[in-house]
Subunit: 220 residues, 2 copies
DNA sequence: TCCTTTCCGTTGGAAATCCAACCGCAAAAA
DNA sequence: TTTTTGCGGTTGGATTTCCAACGGAAAGGA
């Protein structure tokens, strides 16, 4: 497991810890290390899980499958990223999504009881705090998304999204991490409707944009 | 503060603790007790807060105000309920909503550093675990809401909502805690559109309902 | 260079929702 | 009892989005 120490320290769960503190903490937390072949299923939708996954090598994806068999990629998890964090302490809840290894992947699984034990160590506090921060920021992110999706009209979704992004990034003009299709997916609308709304708003002088760089104009 | 002990023990943060353990834990966590007059503002949208509120007496409301001055009630917080839990450990983030006391209200405010100190006590572990559970379940709840709001058509929103509710409640027929208007607000559609979709689906044999009691029919 | 691919804006008809209004029923109030 | 109020279903025109398709511009590959 030693060779993954740099990756582990890079994760949001272990950030701001030193490599000297890590072995003792891992001895307490006792994560299970598992390796999966490319394409292998890690978690199946419908299972009840209460563990947190830390990807040490390879790449895994969160997949939503509907009864018709369509596969939709919800998220891609790279080394040092986490998954399942909301299920660790929520009690046994059924997963609405599946998790697949897209390449050969090594994952560390943490269990709720053992992970809490690290709080007895002075440096363990840091881990608990990191975990609380991860969950809090996840809630705020989802809250933001709900605020966007609650808007009935495409133009309003765009404005709510760009305004919160501008506040978060503290820049104007601002760059967003999506192309048009991805932005439309995030806002929950068709790409054509998004493009149409954007050109209407540019016409109306509300904003300006080129590609993924947007400028919000003040006043209404 | 003693007279609020039963309320505090009833909160999700302190649940499954005994009244004997409480005084020592509160001495460490050092919450600030504040009392507000009816109508008084507790937090103003735009402020940066990093504390958790526990309502001990009275009632407070989460309010969303738009530039035009319309007030929208996001949530009503009764004694033993919490607010601000997602802001405690998220770093200083600006509030998108305001919090008002609707009646004379007494609130305990916990700060992030002091609250973490309770983890040194054996019973303090329970509090940390409760907090992790609160944040996790909040994320799952928001996830569910995003799944609903992401549906483009009213009928699909209804189906996603009822199916997850049926799974959660483990009952069919199931009762929901909303009337039509509240259900429409939750799903992000007009009440008329919801009523129309519901009667279409009843016509099609997908489900049955009277008032707020719904029966899902299997097969498609 | 040419060809292929990707991205983005546009368009038009079909479909769905919004919005305001009206109605009937049932529970609550007088 | 009668009256009032709240809730839920329905309706129709205006508005908006969806959906599929097309075309141009830019980037990448052969």
């Amino acid at each position: 497991m030693d060779k993954f120490y740099p990756i582990i320290l890079n994760s949001r769960l272990f950030q701001s810890l030193s490599i000297q503190e890590l072995p003792d903490l891992l001895k307490i937390a006792q994560p299970q290390q598992r390796t999966y072949a490319a394409g292998q299923r890690i978690w199946q939708a419908g299972e009840q899980v209460t563990s947190l996954g830390l990807v040490c090598a390879g790449r895994v994806q969160i997949i939503k499958e509907n009864p018709q068999g369509d596969r939709m990629i919800i998220a891609t998890i790279d080394p040092a990223d986490l998954f399942g964090e909301a299920y660790l302490y929520a009690g046994a809840k059924t997963l609405p999504v599946s998790v697949d290894a897209v390449s050969e992947a090594t994952v560390l699984f943490f269990e709720p009881e053992a992970l809490l034990e690290v709080a007895w160590m002075p440096e363990g506090k840091r881990i608990i705090r990191n975990l609380l921060q991860i969950l809090s920021q996840k809630s705020l992110l989802l809250n933001k998304k709900v605020a966007i999706l609650s808007q009935r009209k495409t133009a309003d979704k765009v404005l709510v999204y760009l305004k919160t992004e501008a506040k978060r990034q503290q820049t104007n003009p601002l760059k967003i991490p999506y192309n048009r299709q991805e932005m439309a997916d995030y806002l929950g609308v068709e790409r054509s409707a998004l493009s149409a709304a954007l050109s209407d708003m540019k016409q109306a002088g509300l904003l300006d944009y080129h590609k993924n760089e947007f400028t919000l104009h003040p006043f209404q």
